[in-house]
Subunit: 272 residues, 3 copies
Amino acid sequence: MRESLWKSVLSVRQNSPLVHNITNYVVMNNTANALLAVGASPIMAHAHPEIEEMVSICGVTVINIGTLDEYWIESMYKAAAKAQELGKPWILDPVGAGASNLRNTTVAQLLKYKPTVIRGNASEIMALANAGGKTKGVDSLHQSTEAIDAAKWLNENTGTVVCISGATDVVIFGNQKILIDNGHVMMTKVTGLGCTATSLIGAFVAGQPENAFEATAAAMALLGVAGEIATAQSNGPGSLQMNLLDKLYNITEEEFNKHIKVSQENGKTVSI
Amino acid sequence: MRESLWKSVLSVRQNSPLVHNITNYVVMNNTANALLAVGASPIMAHAHPEIEEMVSICGVTVINIGTLDEYWIESMYKAAAKAQELGKPWILDPVGAGASNLRNTTVAQLLKYKPTVIRGNASEIMALANAGGKTKGVDSLHQSTEAIDAAKWLNENTGTVVCISGATDVVIFGNQKILIDNGHVMMTKVTGLGCTATSLIGAFVAGQPENAFEATAAAMALLGVAGEIATAQSNGPGSLQMNLLDKLYNITEEEFNKHIKVSQENGKTVSI
Amino acid sequence: MRESLWKSVLSVRQNSPLVHNITNYVVMNNTANALLAVGASPIMAHAHPEIEEMVSICGVTVINIGTLDEYWIESMYKAAAKAQELGKPWILDPVGAGASNLRNTTVAQLLKYKPTVIRGNASEIMALANAGGKTKGVDSLHQSTEAIDAAKWLNENTGTVVCISGATDVVIFGNQKILIDNGHVMMTKVTGLGCTATSLIGAFVAGQPENAFEATAAAMALLGVAGEIATAQSNGPGSLQMNLLDKLYNITEEEFNKHIKVSQENGKTVSI
């Protein structure tokens, strides 16, 4: 699997997919920079009169509810509906799901437009699936493994690939599962790396929407490996934020293969 | 006092308070990163339908008027009113007070909800108290000492702790005063470090709302000391922004005590 | 010409012009930091009730349509109209012009308020002038030289200085042209450096509105030279973003003169 994951990295660099983001104010700069670093081309746009054109010209739309309000929620609905209508991939990041009624009703409505991939921490995935669990803001309270039942429920009911990010990232589709053990705990001290993960998934899925499951794993593996290497070069979260962008930009196949820790489960068969 | 200030730093690291921010677009990323670096947990949320829930679940709300507009002003009023109703601490950063009529009427209204702490530069504090002084944008025109009368007026009329930041930071409550002589002039070349100061005050006050006076001094001392150390490692404001986050994250008690320059005045008694 | 360009750099440092920005969410932090680094004083403000006051108290207004929506478009119209009424300089950055009907109608309306300077990539300048060319998001598809006809048309019809940025930046006014061959391709991997260029043009024009042509060239030359030096010190776009701010802050006349590659054409006369 390592080879095909690295091929996804190269594919983004070569094809420079156009990634449309409706995301939160906190992370717009980092997200755009991470997309540029991996070779993608970011567009941030949310105005109702142009939202459908933006969905149409881009390879994928990423919807992140981090700093939602009534206007932006309407933008998200319009974009998701248009993507569904056109058969284009779109990705959902349910930031802070469970923290307010507004977030819960918004993600419930967005689920109806059947996202191609959902990425969240365990609390968010559980809130999404009404599998209980109140979120402590945007931080995770649960181990990612506890949310696997919720992810399976989401996959069965919407057909979406689900990625539960945490110390171990778990990507689920049907009875297949990919586990990624990369990353470093200091990454939780840089704001918005979850949001960055979701945008990178968008870039990777744009190039291979027919295999969103593996594209999602490739994006998560790249971010985890790059984050791990960058952390080793950093004195704290400030330099990590910077070094991570550098490493997303200049990571080599050798580095990727040296660090990646990934395993796949297909039903009861486990392969590495 | 040094010991109790350092205890506040440790307390934030250990208790990871949830800090709700209604702040400006320019600084959201930095503010969130600074809060994470000191060990707090940031939430940025402004939507009217969820604003009261956010105030309720968080330990403190920070309101910063930097890029206000009609919708956000209403969010600020709702949040401040809810915090007052619940007896929760909330912090006001009157960015650019005095620069427009809109800002003046907004902060006048916000004062009615009795913030726990106000932090601004001398111009902003003076504008707030109608003590004269026209602001030159968000930069300070006045020495912080000139605004002390304004700060005393604010304290007497609203019961709030007031922090005038500048070359010397002055924290005022009743007839007590703490002076902090840390920081470096290069910090004025990094956007939003005043806003960062205000958010850190929020994190510190969340853990000891009964002693917001000393919590405010601890936050200002931490930022000043970390900024001073970070400046010595930096070639300019770009690297300072990065090194500051690293230092907020990894500062030790030894470093803190070595650099801190703080004095306290209680009426006419001065102690160090 | 080198000497007068460097004089512009010094003038900004000495006079610290107040630069009002109505810009996009992605770049607000970087733009503010770049303005501070060169010695200017940034204000970000968009609220309708204060927009005219902000135009009045600032030396220049910079309007960037990157993340426009209905409210912000109205802010832009109000600001541009006020600047025109007061005879104050204002700068237009038509981000993504050509990518949606909304952007095209917005920039068409803004042109009526006769911007002092327009800066965009070749696609954007061409879209602006209806000279054809569909934009691929906010990236350039065209060599800057291809947009020169469009720039001339804009100059003739609105009297504005036009800067087409790209591998070679071209600044056009009447039959005069300044070509700047600085910068580095890695700068296209840092989000918003085009927007930063536009804000720096604002800072430079504020100090010499009577010579916006040369002020624009000075801002572009400074960014290009600083970017070139910063790239040589960087491992990727993350460190470039940081080192660029440092270099904008501490660049010396010697460095500027050593690296600058600028030439001027006046009709058929070329000078260096």
